[in-house]
Amino acid sequence: MNASRIHGIVLSGVGGQGVLSLAQILLEALRRSGLHALQSEIHGMSQRGGSVHAQVCFSEAALTSPILDEGGADLLIALEPLEALRYVSMLRMDGHLVVSEEPQMDMAGYPPLDDVYAALKAVRGAHLVDTEDLARRLNHRQAGGMALLGMASRFLPIEDGVWREVIAQRFEAKGARVTEKNLEAFEAGRGLIHDPVGA
């Protein structure tokens, strides 16, 4: 990580998938790592199935702008493949993309899935994950978001202990078992990225 530079993360998905909740976990983890961090989100109609996106900026220096420029993001975390494509141009040339292959197709004009996958695979630094399969294997229906965060963690200057702390705190109210399942999903995602070039 380059200290003076502003780093950016874009998160995208569909209303109800938990995009904003992931963004908040990220923000908290960055803050606990001693970094200046800002998160921007737009809500109002989010639970009704529209596109949702959030941005997180962080730096070692103080920040005032919560908005990233095109070409200003280091990382894109997408919970849905089509929603990933919308934000590819937000990524820096050397940026990475972690994306779920699980489509939410209940909308008019969804392009052929194969085209969507092909477009994603054409992006350098793209890491696709079959979250549906992962969820089945972990016997945890909502494992996808946490697994993506685990993948993303390989590109972020946040210590393992901080992640565990923040995730545990986030799910504290839902009991030890839920916390454990989420930590497991996070670790599973983390294990999917072997050699994070440029991290």
């Binding site: 800002l38 109002g44 639970q47 009704r48 969507v116 477009a119």
Partner: protein
């Protein structure tokens, strides 16, 4: 500094109001102001120290509640979105003449880019219109600090103070350092000698208007320490407010060469003309970065000394919100090149009704009933809420959406012009907000207007706050003069479809005003258990009292 937490900008305003010792908070929900009220509500409920947080039926009611609290000598916060201030404008403009006793801060959230609004009006203009001060933060911490300052100013100047934020700041989350919480302290009610100031009969109002105008230099003097003139080294400059200030600050950090530009940074209005002149004396060309209307841009342009660039000359788009990219382009700063956008066509993913939402069943019944009466092409007057989604294809069930409460009056107006049948569709919260007086007039007009009230028991659109009309809709309808036989209450579920079609058909055929209430709780509100306690209490009350 006692506490550091993560908070949204709009929440920071609520926290500051609590910490500044307000006795009460009032508001009507509206994105992106809603969470400001909810933050202070949470603190007040937690504190259990006699403070109150109360949603009001509409923004004007909220503002008058706050004014009453101020009259009695207590600090108070009132929250609304930008169009809400249109509704509260009568109260706001006249409270400039009465002045305040306890500090009164009005949080208004503007929505440049119309993320969830029907227009992008600029509240700074309304503050100017009312001759009142307005503070405009640019970071989450400033939201907090300037709210504190706003309370002090309100009491020092004895006027209401507006705190204007925009969507991007309202929904920016960042670390927030809070100060020590002050307990609410009352100044006591308006003293005897000042009572006439609050009685705006013409004789008093004329005097108070002069007082208000006489106060303007003091308002400017108090604004000046919050505004800054930072000289540069060349004869170019930027004028910055709100997010313009935030984006430029960031850009300056990345491009230190920009410090050659002179900067006029505005966080408080009215702006002292002397400050503007001092700035203009240093520059030949200025780019103005502010959200919504070209307020500073016009003021600086009127002086005619420098070339003023911004929304009016095309340096920036005339509409929509600012962005870091727009600043870079206008200043000729090189922008980064990112990965190529996908060449695949990406259709928008529009928001839609939640699965199982009762509004859908109600619309289906209405559409078929219109077919039954032989008028399937009827233009239906809609209103604002989740049910506005029905304006989209393929449902296309409503054909006008203007402002809250408009549906009923527009349907009556169209009926008076000869449309028959004439139909209005309105939500329960919207009905309580501004549908009531419209229904009174509908009854008085006697025309064939069918008012469909979609009662999902909450304010669905803004996050399922309990509706003020909760359990009251039939009583309200009867109270406006609709006879019992023209009021039907239906259950919008697929199983009831045929019965519902028959009932709506009967209402459409009736020659005079009629009301059909579709009642089923919002799915999201059920999921979150918003009304669970309320409903349990009602059931308990009903077993101890005689309930019908």
């Amino acid at each position: 500094m006692v506490q550091s937490t993560l908070a949204l900008g709009v929440e920071a305003v609520g926290c500051a109001a609590f910490d500044a010792g307000i006795k009460g908070a009032f508001g009507y929900p509206g994105t992106p102001s809603t969470e400001g009220f909810e933050a202070v509500e949470l603190l007040i409920h937690g504190a259990q120290d006699g403070r109150v947080a109360q949603w009001a039926a509409n923004e004007k009611v909220a503002y008058d509640l706050a004014l009453g609290m101020s009259y009695s000598g207590h600090r108070t916060l009132v929250t609304m979105k930008h169009v809400g201030l249109n509704v509260a404008m009568d109260a706001y403009a006249n409270s400039a003449l009465t002045g305040v006793r306890g500090g009164l801060v009005l949080l208004v959230a503007d929505d440049p880019g119309m993320h969830s609004s029907q227009n992008e009006q600029d509240s700074r203009r309304l503050a100017e219109f009312a001759w009142l001060p307005c503070l405009e933060p640019s970071t989450v911490q400033e939201c907090y600090d300037l709210t504190f300052r706003a309370f002090e100013l309100s009491e020092a100047l004895q006027v209401p103070v507006m705190l204007r934020i925009v969507t991007r700041l309202a929904h920016c989350r960042a670390a927030l350092a809070r100060r020590k919480t002050q307990a609410p302290t009352g100044l006591g009610p308006v003293p005897e000698a000042a009572v006439q100031d609050w009685v705006l009969i013409p004789a008093n109002a004329r005097r108070r208007y002069v007082d208000l105008l006489d106060k303007q230099p003091r308002l400017m003097a108090e604004a000046t320490p919050l505004n800054r003139l930072i000289p540069g080294t060349i004869r170019r400059g930027v004028a910055l407010a709100g997010m313009g200030r935030a984006y430029f600050g960031q850009l300056l950090h990345e491009n230190p060469a920009l410090s050659a530009l002179s900067r006029l940074e505005i966080a408080a209005y009215p702006v002292d003309p002397a400050l503007e002149q001092a700035f203009l004396a240093q520059v030949d060309e200025v780019v103005v970065f502010e959200e919504d209307y070209p307020v500073l841009e016009e003021r600086l342009g009127l002086r005619g000394t420098a070339q003023i660039r911004g929304r009016l000359d095309g340096a920036l788009p005339r509409t929509g919100e600012l962005s870091p990219r727009l600043l870079k382009d206008a200043l000729g700063v090189e922008a980064p090149v990112g990965k190529a956008a996908s060449s695949l066509e990406l259709p928008i993913r529009a928001p839609r009704f939640c699965d199982g939402c009762g509004h859908v069943d109600a619309y289906e019944a209405l559409k078929e009933a219109l077919v039954q009466v032989g008028a399937p092409e009827t233009r239906v007057f809609g209103d604002i809420g989740c049910y506005t989604l029905a304006a989209q294809e393929p449902m296309a069930a409503i054909h006008a959406v203007v402002e809250m409460g408009a549906s009923i009056s527009m349907a009556v107006g169209a009926a008076l012009a000869g449309q028959n049948p004439s139909v209005a569709v309105i939500g329960d919260s919207t009905f309580g907000h501004s549908g009531l007086p419209a229904l009174l007039t509908a009854v008085d007009s006697g025309v064939n207007v069918t008012v469909i009230i979609l009662d999902n028991r909450v304010v669905g659109m803004t996050g399922q706050q309990p509706s003020q009309a909760l359990d009251q809709v039939e009583r309200m309808v009867r109270g406006m003069g609709i006879p019992d036989d023209q009021l039907q209450v239906l259950l919008p579920v697929p199983k009831q479809h045929d019965a519902n079609v028959a009932a709506v058909t009967a209402a459409l055929r009736h020659a005079g005003p009629s009301v059909v209430v579709f009642r089923r709780e919002c799915i999201q509100s059920i999921r979150r258990g918003v009304l669970k306690d309320h409903d349990r209490q009602e059931r308990e009350r009903c077993t101890t009292e005689v309930c019908s």
